[in-house]
Point group: D4
Chain length 249, copies 8
């Protein structure tokens, strides 16, 4: 980018004033309440995700539309409520973009438009319990939006370790594993000890007693005795999917 611009200035194709203007204007569109980043996919390989909370439905819709109007990768609306999803869906449909996917509850949904082309990579999403499924589903939806086709292994918690060992071959052959677990989060260590693949651990807010809304699982995963496990924030299935997308070719 920068080099191209400087070449243009040198060749006279672009005046210094124009260069300053282009530098300011090009990489994002300023909607007043949002500076929409049209180059994020190029720069990071990540989708542009619109984070729902604290935004009005109108703002959500406007940002989704702005993103879809430019060519690019997948567009996601995350942690959205039903009003935000409805507004964005209507606006996108009007633009000719049907919604590709919608997972989650009316209060905490992930919507997807314009998914990426399918790409290779054996990704496992493993959950400790059925209660961790909503987070795992968010992760799976984002992975699919990014072109991956993850397999889900639900309810493999360490209290019945044979349930996980039964999937030993899948673990050994995976290209990446996402571990989704609440309570004491021990599953991440166990999986980390069974696979040479990169392991991204997602602590969930599942549990009680001393689970502290996911903080215990978070700390436990960060302290894992299995080396090379890395961690994202509590209930952040979206972040884990993005981390996986970064590390697959």
């Amino acid at each position: 980018m920068l080099r191209q611009l400087l070449d243009d200035v040198a060749s006279g194709t672009c005046s210094p004033d124009d260069a300053v203007r282009r530098l300011r204007r090009l990489p994002f569109a300023d909607l007043g309440f949002a500076r929409v980043d049209h180059h994020r996919t190029l720069r990071q390989g990540m989708p542009e995700a619109v984070y729902g909370p604290h935004k009005t439905p109108e703002q959500c819709a406007a940002i989704v539309v702005e993103l879809l109007e430019e060519p690019g990768g997948p567009v996601l609306l995350t942690r959205a409520d039903e009003h935000q999803v409805a507004a964005a869906t209507a606006a996108a449909t009007e633009l000719g973009h049907d919604r590709f996917d919608l997972v989650g509850t009316a209060r905490l949904a992930t919507a997807v438009w314009r998914p990426a082309a399918e790409r290779p990579g054996r990704v496992l999403v493993v959950t400790a319990g059925t209660a961790d499924l909503p987070v795992a589903e968010e992760c799976r939806a984002v992975l699919v939006a990014l072109g991956l086709r993850p397999e889900l292994l639900a309810d493999c918690g360490v209290a019945g370790v044979h349930r996980l060992l039964a999937s030993g071959d899948e673990l050994a052959e995976a290209d990446a594993v996402v571990v989704v677990a609440g309570m004491e989060g021990a599953l991440a260590s166990l999986v980390g000890g069974l696979t040479p693949a990169p392991v991204v651990a997602v602590p969930t807010s599942v549990g009680y007693g001393a689970a502290l809304e996911g903080v215990t699982a978070l700390l436990a995963m960060l302290s894992s005795c299995a080396s090379g496990v890395s961690v994202v924030g509590i209930d952040n299935g979206f972040g884990a999917a993005c981390a996986v997308a970064r590390l697959l070719p």
Copy 2:
């Protein structure tokens, strides 16, 4: 288990391929969203408890049914809301299993099916205040499901220590004591000093001021000057009952 399987392979009763398959399939039933552990009772002597939160009523019902379809020990649905209880109860009844017990509120109930046969053991459940009763009731229901017949001593908090001392003989002769207390949780230390029996302390979220939703009682119980008191998570009457069941013959 493992030894049996290897013997079968050696004797030709079971081919290696079958053995791998059996290892994978036998100890649990994979419902897709849950891997139901049919051997937990054998392995741990614990009931299989279905933890309600974050599950749909349908998932709760399906897991309860799966567990009841195989012979085994008690089946519990814990921390369930009324929809989960209703769905599981209906499904179990259809299968011919009447619900044995239901305690708690519409938002936080424990349901029991197929209780264990009665077993010996003098178990006391002691609470600091009347406000600790819901947790004590959960504990008592799980103990009963496990075949025990606990006695409840309510409202024995240390601010009126004579209320506890009056039950000194029961304490001295118990086989196990569960102490349920919120606020500063001091009752656990006092009981620990009055009985040679194993003491399992359950901090509760009762209290205000600096009770921190049970964290204060939890820390206090873990720091007890009475030696040999052990602790479970906040409001975890279920866990205390299981701990007692483990330690009684």
Copy 3:
């Protein structure tokens, strides 16, 4: 005690004034700086343990001597420094009580006098790593003082789960299991899922990164998905041993 005293008063063997005096004087000896509890063994079945920190060597020695002068169970000096151990050992030896055991470092030792007679019970002490051994050794020394003969399984952490599974039979047949683990403390959940025996978990301050001096392991063990695991304080091998002594016949 109380009943006996009242009978004596009723029979005239003991005057009311004497009864009041006996009630005040009998159960402990007041050394001015300490009220030594001679009935703790009877009342709790626990040893009287002298907690070293913040006491002078002279105070430690005087309390140990006071305890040994009366008939009774094992006497322990815990978390003591070398000066405290030396003073107590010298004073006890003078009294004719040789020290039975000493474990730990010069700054954090456990000394034992007058151990209890051997008693039955298969107790396993399982550690996650070699670094957890000091806490496990404290636990083992206290168990031995209390008459038990525990077996130690060191370095069974979940990052190499086969190391634990290899001891599956011992776990299945144990009467009680102490799990000693730092970092993420996941071993407690795994062991809890493999044995029907009572499991007492001891978090240790081993680890870094997010281990928070043992707080992470403590929280994780309290949140364990394996039901019926109970927990004692960080690095509290002494407490775990006492909890085991309470629950064995």
Copy 4:
């Protein structure tokens, strides 16, 4: 004060300029590094205490001297190291003020000069264990400096509740009780339930496991189920003594 000054201004005894100057200068002496408050005893009935940490020995000595040079109540140097104590003692002696008392260790001492005249009031200082004695001793020394003659009951922890009950009469008749306890701090609740006197609880940093350097005892005392117990900071024997001095006639 203010009224007197205004009267003087009205009567011409004092010019407005002088009044401003007196207002600024009278109530304290500005040493540059300290503004020594000569009216604190009058205003609060409290001693002026020089807090040692982060001050040089010279600063400690200068402030102690400044305070002793004016007539007034007791002067204390608290939490001082041996160099601070030595410097202040030498400077005070030179001024003709012998040190009245010194308690604590070389690193954490309390020195007293010019104690108050003896005053009535039955004050009990009760400790949970021998390890709490250093804090109790600080409290006692400050109470004596303030003219009180407290009685010390050491080692009355709740693990052997009879040790406390034996002092039931003293508790019932006290004018004020200071409870000094670490670990789970349960003694405060127990004492609060046995006496109608004001109870000031001092959590100490004694303990381990989950005692969190006194935070657990602090939280537990603040959450006490015995009503009307009030609390000062961790290891703050000085503060408890001052609170008692405030409430006695």
Copy 5:
């Protein structure tokens, strides 16, 4: 009590068996779900307060009735919701006890029956802001129930320190001061520096930014540079009133 009983046993007025029975039954009435302490007023000088949360309206009513049926001091129902207040009021009225006072909201009320006779003592309740009034009102209602007639100084926060200084005489002459403050809780230090009276500080959950639901004010009050300030739990106006009642003659 104990002495009387022993005398009776010695004189044959009471058999040992009866003595044991009386010891068990006398000091409290066992309602099954509560052990109502009829001697608390004698023992502690405190009212019996029924803590509402986690109790059913029926339980609240039964305990209030049990307490009113015996002669004694004031009876309070605290932190009650409107259903609990209604049930207790109806039951007490039926018994001939009109409710004396009711303060607070429908969700968090304090009800008073059978207040104590008026007693002397100048008590000030000082609040930092108008938002602290609900806690101050609870404190005032409990003080009145205990026979005191407190004066309220509202909105004296340190951001306008002259508002407090204007009440300097009242502060200087008070017998006890309750300081009710949220946010940074600085008012306690300021008041502590202006009065020789005992100061009981009540942190409130008022504030935002970093007020942490009252934890900041709690910590600040405990760390006060004004010596001898003692503290009760967050929003615990009840506890502060009890602490004041303990310290007044």
Copy 6:
């Protein structure tokens, strides 16, 4: 103030008694539930802001009226709900003061009366994301009430750093910059490195995973590697505006 009063006393214009009375009465009006500070604007240059939570609508209205009845600076009602806003607006209108501004939601609004005259100063309010806008809007409204005309740069978060760099000139030339950011709060460091102007950072409660309701952003901003960034409480747009008003001429 004080000097003036003393001069009056000296000259006989004011008697000492009157002086005492004036000192007590002048600087605030005592409404019983509030001591309204009429000199805050003079003393601090700050507006008198009525903090809504825990106050009744009537109290809010009465304080706003009291403030508007005296000449002075801007009057604000902050963190108010719709009932509080309605009551205060009605009462002020009746007094002849139309509401100047209202921002925020029905549950958390800021209302402004009698704004200050416009004053110079280039103030930037920069937000990390669109979700931070509500806090930024509160800040902007307060700045406008104080006479400033801030410019808003929304959605400049560090994940797309070019969006901020494009506004480099504005940053370099600002007189003060308010940075409003949640999640990891990194924007404050980045802005601090790009401008010589004073930077006031406002952490917001936006985010999840490990954002801890704004605590993470708060800690991060306080730990900023860009020197001279100062910080106000979480979501405290009001405080940031006041800090800016203090530092501009």
Copy 7:
């Protein structure tokens, strides 16, 4: 900078390749272990401060030298130990730059070279106690290095509020006030209520009981009821000085 470079490219003074190279090389010097930022003073108006901890003395010396070799503003070495100070001083002296100032202890010192020219601005540094002086001295030294001439008011804590009120005029007339306080940090609120000047609050780690190494003062200052007080990190006298330098003309 950017504009200048683009102009040069347009005019042919600079080739595109050179421009890229200059962009990379100019604004800092890469020492391998450090990228020394020569434009910080221009960009931020801040000094380049070398943070001592975790650096070798050689690294400290090399960075100080690199900074002094280019023309520019003041150079500081902060939080340095005596070895780091010695190495940097020797290297700078060799270069012809005498050290201008050195404050602090052998383990935590601030060294200054090449101070800025004197600039106007009445800055007050107010401390709550003598124990806060080391942090205040760091702040003062940095202010002097930046050309300011602050006045120090020591020991003005709120327990004796008249000590602060005596300096009311200085507070009212200051251009900026730094408040340095530990324990409960209440001084910041009091000062904020007495001056219209910008107030930068520095919490210190002074205190005990519940001071939590400065966290209590930090939280209290952030929650101050005096509006517009902004805060820097614990013991960060350096940061407060930089914040003041940013806001003075």
Copy 8:
């Protein structure tokens, strides 16, 4: 492994008893104090790392020797003190294995034996400041032991963002980036926004004020607004290197 064993049992090559024995013995060597895992490299692709703390030098040496005696991958001794390094080095040398590398201080070193063969992969290790270098060096040493050849970019903190932008091409082309940062940890977000490569963030304990020994950086990195950044524990350069090794082909 399991399949092979079952085949051998089926073919009679191995008896069931032998199979059980092999299962128990093969995958690790039991040294009594350690169960050395010889298959970790195969299973996880990770090196076997001996964690130094709490182990004796003899234990460290014995485990290193045990690992080197079997063929396999790199062997590391981490977080070791000089005695542990010396003992292990001597024992390994005796066995014919020269130490390949040693980084860190005498108290916190990483020693490497038998490094892996070089493998491809452009890995960047970027630090925020020079003070973060020790952690970065640990990471680099482990990466080299694992066959990678990382490039180090030191001192790129966000306070001078141009220092990082100057390395934009390297970031854009990297296969993996490790970000090492303390204080507010903002560098992770910035880097995450500039590269499509996987980003592993390592918070360090560098900083003060509110850095909380690395907790602030940890929380900030977990809350990063740049999607797909994953995090390891505080100061855990070793863990980051392992995470990178897992994700590269």
